[in-house]
């Protein structure tokens, strides 16, 4: 199981949200290792310096200092070494237009940060299951938003 453990990278500047994510992940019946970066610049330098050993999935917050999630997504999808990386947007926003834009930029899934911890666990669980299932299949618009 250890060998199969999912490598999860979370990019979020909000310490509370990072804590919720970790708590939720801990309570889920999955074996995963979580790495956290606090902003887009940190994220990109980490990914570029470690492109052979990429995480299985990146949970990307949009509203980050120094470099936003949008910018990071664009860079990842334009980088030959990184474009295969599964990106799940993890944001407070529920704006359909923003979601549209992200879909077109190449994000696989979209999670709206839930208010309820139970729901949080639920969406993370679903996201991880989808990560394993879909692997690197192209995302579909209908299933873009992961709901609790």
């Amino acid at each position: 199981m250890q060998a199969d453990s999912l490598k999860i990278l979370l990019a979020d500047d909000d310490a509370d949200d990072c804590l919720f994510f970790k708590d939720a992940l801990d309570e889920l019946p999955v074996t995963a290792s979580l790495n956290t970066v606090k902003n887009g610049v940190e994220l990109m330098s980490l990914l570029k310096s470690n492109s052979i050993n990429l995480p299985h999935v990146l949970f990307l917050d949009l509203n980050m200092p120094r470099k936003t999630g949008f910018e990071c997504l664009s860079e990842i999808k334009q980088n030959e070494n990184l474009k295969q990386l599964l990106v799940i947007v993890y944001s407070t926003s529920s704006n359909p237009e923003v979601m549209d834009l992200l879909y077109h930029k190449g994000a696989h899934y979209y999670i709206r940060k839930p208010a309820d911890f139970v729901n949080l666990k639920s969406v993370i669980h679903k996201a991880l299951s989808l990560t394993v299932q879909t692997k690197l299949l192209p995302p579909s618009k209908e299933n873009f938003l992961i709901q609790p």
Partner: protein, 818 residues
């Protein structure tokens, strides 16, 4: 011997110088030998010669010894050959002419015929020089006893005098001919009874209009046939036949010159020419062309006649025009007045001896100086004397206006001699002018009493009158305006336009209308409305322009103020609009950002709350749990509120991409979204007709979501919820809604439920933001849902109306233009 001698020399006994010389001559020294030995033939010939009174000369013997008589002697002149050549050899005696006479002598000596030479030039040495001498002479042979030619007898006569006379005669004739030919008068010689032209000079040819070739050696009347009928033939024949000279002055002759008949005038005379026998054999015709002279004189005569006529006319004219004529002799002060002039001045027509004073004394005193001054000025400046003045008529003292015009005549020294002219009564005209003046004064008085500026201009557009108001307003004098122009009153910025418009009006005759500013005496510029109209005569020709300028400063100020105010207001409104829009945008972005940013802490509160409930549930009392639920419920409501607010603000900002969509597909999706609630309420949604509409799909999804949620929310617990959705196309006037346009096509969408409904008076209020008709606890809601619906409909340029009946249900009518 003596006898012999005497006897022998008897032939020399003739008297005279040459006989003497011959006798005395020592002939022994000559070839002839002593006289006593001379042959009889010689003696005989000498005897004849010496006794002849005709000039004779003899060359005798082989040596041709010279012998001659007294008659010949003068031919030898003084200081010449005489007497030395007596007994000399011919060759020695006549060396200068030897070459001429030798052949003649030889001819005779050789037995030829005697010679005859007439007027032969044989120059000889005499009188100390070689003289040209003309001779008529004959050389004849002289025979000796044997009948042989022994000498040459020369009988001769010197004809030098005759020849020279003849030559002089010829020369004078040649000169005469040349003179005739070159004479300025025309001269011609006609010969014979047919008057053949023998000679004609160029001047004659000129007069005759012929060439020499035309007339020379032809009878003149043949050469100039036009003369035959003009008594010329009679004159010529008369002179030829009677020998009487015929002279005539200014004879009119018609001559054909270059094919045209011309009348000329000549002074001519014809004189007979006599031949040597005293018979008339020709006519000398002389003449001078005096045509120019005659024509000029005729013209002068004609013009004199014309002048006389004019004078007569003038006299008639002056009388009929009531114009008197006069002439003043400066020296004597005598006045010549025509009868009419006297009458005009009140003098008797027949009064004589009038002088300057008679004129001057009846001029009214005020005008005396003027009349006198004008006379003096005209004299000094050589100008026309022209004056208007009044007189008291000499007879009845009546005052009359008179006009006198005159001109000085000066003598060669430049002194004025006479002043001549005319005078006439202008009283009527002056009266008319007075009345004009009076009416103009009235006009001016009127104009000056007007508050407006009044001005006039001539046809060229030159302003020539301003009323008092102009001077009062501008503070300028007429002189100042005349000097620097009226334009100085106009504001500098208005001048160009002013000139342009004025020139345009003057050129076209169109009314002048302009608003411009005039400078007041205190320097303030005030707006004026100026109008000018052309005054036309009965033919429509412009005579002058009359213009007015009215102060419109108040109106202008008011209008300007109004304009400024309107301008400011609209500017303000525009600004407000911009501000409002900006504010609206700010509000929207504020609503969006704030609600977005509000969500974070709210979400965390909720998350923390769920964590506590989950983990610390056992540690909470029942009361604590209840309070905790309430807190969570409030947080939930707040989240709903934020979500709706976000949705509401997004309806305005989102991109509006219209698509043709069937409503049914939109409704089906909403039904899917609300699947659970529909199930929970046991609701039935009945979709009747649906049509294709041009909409922003996600907004309409929101619209139906909100409407159906609304029906679900306000369903009647007593009866199962039933929602009817219908749509149809129709013209606006079919629907009972006054906001719709009758002719326009609409899609009418109806959503009707059988829920709790609402009181009809709330049918408008229901769409306002945050409106709650029901208690929060009974029916959850943010009061934003229907506001969003209304906004979406408006985004589609549509209209929404709500009908409600409490306890029976609510119906929403949506009209979208197609």
């Amino acid at each position: 011997m003596k006898d012999l001698v005497d006897n022998t020399i008897q032939f020399l006994s003739a008297p005279g110088e040459m006989a003497e010389l011959t006798r005395r001559k020592d002939w022994k020294a000559t070839q002839l030998g002593p006289v006593e030995e001379w042959p009889q033939s010689l003696r005989t010939i000498i005897g004849i010669i010496l006794n002849s009174k005709f000039p004779m000369f003899l060359w005798w013997g082989p040596e041709l010894i010279c012998l001659y008589n007294d008659a010949y002697r003068p031919s030898l002149g003084q200081k010449g050959k005489h007497p030395s050549i007596l007994g000399m050899k011919a060759e020695d005696a006549w060396p200068e002419i030897w070459s001429i006479i030798k052949p003649l002598i030889d001819q005779v000596m050789n037995g030829g015929e005697a010679t005859w030479s007439q007027d032969q030039l044989i120059p000889i040495y005499r009188n100390g020089i070689i003289e040209d001498v003309y001779w008529t002479f004959s050389y004849s042979p002289a025979y000796d006893e044997s009948g042989k030619v022994a000498g040459v007898l020369v009988t001769c006569a010197e004809t030098t005098a005759q020849v020279l006379t003849q030559k002089k005669l010829e020369e004078s004739e040649r000169r005469l001919r040349a003179m005739i030919l070159q004479a300025p008068a025309s001269i011609a010689v006609l010969r014979g009874k047919n008057h053949v032209v023998e000679m004609v000079n160029p001047r004659s040819l000129e007069i005759w209009g012929r060439t020499e070739q035309d007339v020379l050696n032809k009878p003149i009347l043949d050469a100039m046939p036009e003369l035959k009928t003009q008594s010329i033939k009679e004159i010529l024949d008369g002179v030829y036949n009677t020998g009487k000279v015929f002279s005539v002055s200014e004879l009119e002759v018609n001559i054909i010159r270059g094919g045209k008949e011309e009348t000329i005038y000549v002074n001519a005379s014809w004189e007979p020419i006599y031949n040597s026998t005293g018979e008339i054999d020709g006519i000398m015709a002389g003449g001078v062309d005096v045509t120019a002279h005659v024509t000029a004189r005729k013209k002068i005569k004609e013009s004199e006649e014309a002048n006389e006529k004019i004078a007569t006319h003038l006299k008639l004219a002056t009388v009929s025009a009531n114009v008197g004529t006069w002439s003043l002799d400066i020296q004597t002060q005598k006045l010549e007045w025509s009868a009419l002039h006297k009458k005009l001045w009140g003098y008797d027509e027949h009064q004589e001896g009038l002088v300057y004073e008679d004129w001057h004394k009846i001029i009214v005193n005020e005008d005396k100086e003027k009349a006198f001054r004008n006379i003096e000025e005209a004299r000094i400046n050589h100008t026309v004397y022209d004056v208007e003045y009044r007189i008291n008529k000499a007879d009845d003292n009546e005052v009359r206006w008179m006009k006198s015009i005159g001109k000085y005549q000066y003598n060669d020294n430049g002194e004025a001699e006479t002043l001549t002219g005319i005078s006439y009564d202008i009283t009527e005209r002056m009266k008319f002018e007075d009345s004009l003046l009076e009416s103009e004064q009235k006009f001016r008085l009127l104009a000056d009493s007007m508050p407006q500026h009044i001005w006039t201009a001539d046809t060229q557009g030159n302003l020539n009158y301003f009323n008092k108001s102009v001077f009062d307003y501008s503070g300028l004098s007429l002189e100042k305006i005349n000097k620097d122009g009226w334009l100085q009153i106009v504001h500098p910025d208005d001048r160009e336009r002013n000139i342009k418009e004025w020139i345009e009006s003057v050129a076209t005759g169109k009314d002048f209308l302009l608003e411009h500013r005039f400078r007041r005496h205190d320097g303030e510029f005030r707006w004026q409305l100026s109008r000018a109209k052309p005054q036309r005569d009965e033919n429509g020709i412009i005579q002058m322009w009359v213009g007015t300028s009215t102060d419109i400063q108040e109106q202008k100020t008011f209008a300007e103020a109004l304009e400024t105010e309107v301008h400011d207001r609209s500017k303000e409104l525009t600004q407000k609009n911009i501000d409002l829009e900006k504010m609206n945008k700010e509000l929207q972005s504020f609503a969006y950002i704030s609600s977005h940013d509000l969500q974070e802490p709210l979400r965390k509160i909720q998350t923390f709350a769920t964590r506590i409930v989950e983990k610390e549930k056992e540690n909470l009392s029942e009361n604590g749990k209840d309070l905790f639920n309430r807190m969570q419920s409030s947080a939930g409501r707040m989240q709903a509120l934020i979500d709706d607010l976000l949705a509401y603000s997004r309806t305005n900002t989102s991109e509006r991409v219209f698509e043709k969509v069937n409503l049914n597909t939109v409704i089906e999706k909403v039904k899917q979204d609300l699947k659970e609630e529909i199930l929970n309420k046991n609701a039935v949604i009945e979709i009747k007709d649906t049509c294709d509409v041009n909409i922003i799909p996600f907004q309409f999804r929101q619209l139906f979501y909100n409407l159906i949620s609304n029906s679900l929310k306000f369903s009647n617990p007593q009866k199962p919820l039933h929602i009817d959705i219908n749509s149809e196309h129709a013209k606006g006037d079919k629907f009972k809604n006054e906001s719709l346009e009758g002719n326009a096509e609409y899609c009418h969408i109806t959503v009707a439920d059988n829920g709790i409904g609402f009181e009809p008076q709330y049918s408008e209020k229901i769409f306002e933001l945050f409106q709650h008709l029901h208690g929060k606890n009974e029916y959850q809601g943010t009061g934003i849902g229907l506001a969003i619906v209304k906004r979406i409909v408006e985004n589609h340029n549509g209209i929404i109306a709500a009908k409600g009946e409490l306890g029976k249900g609510a119906t929403f009518d949506i009209y979208l233009p197609v």
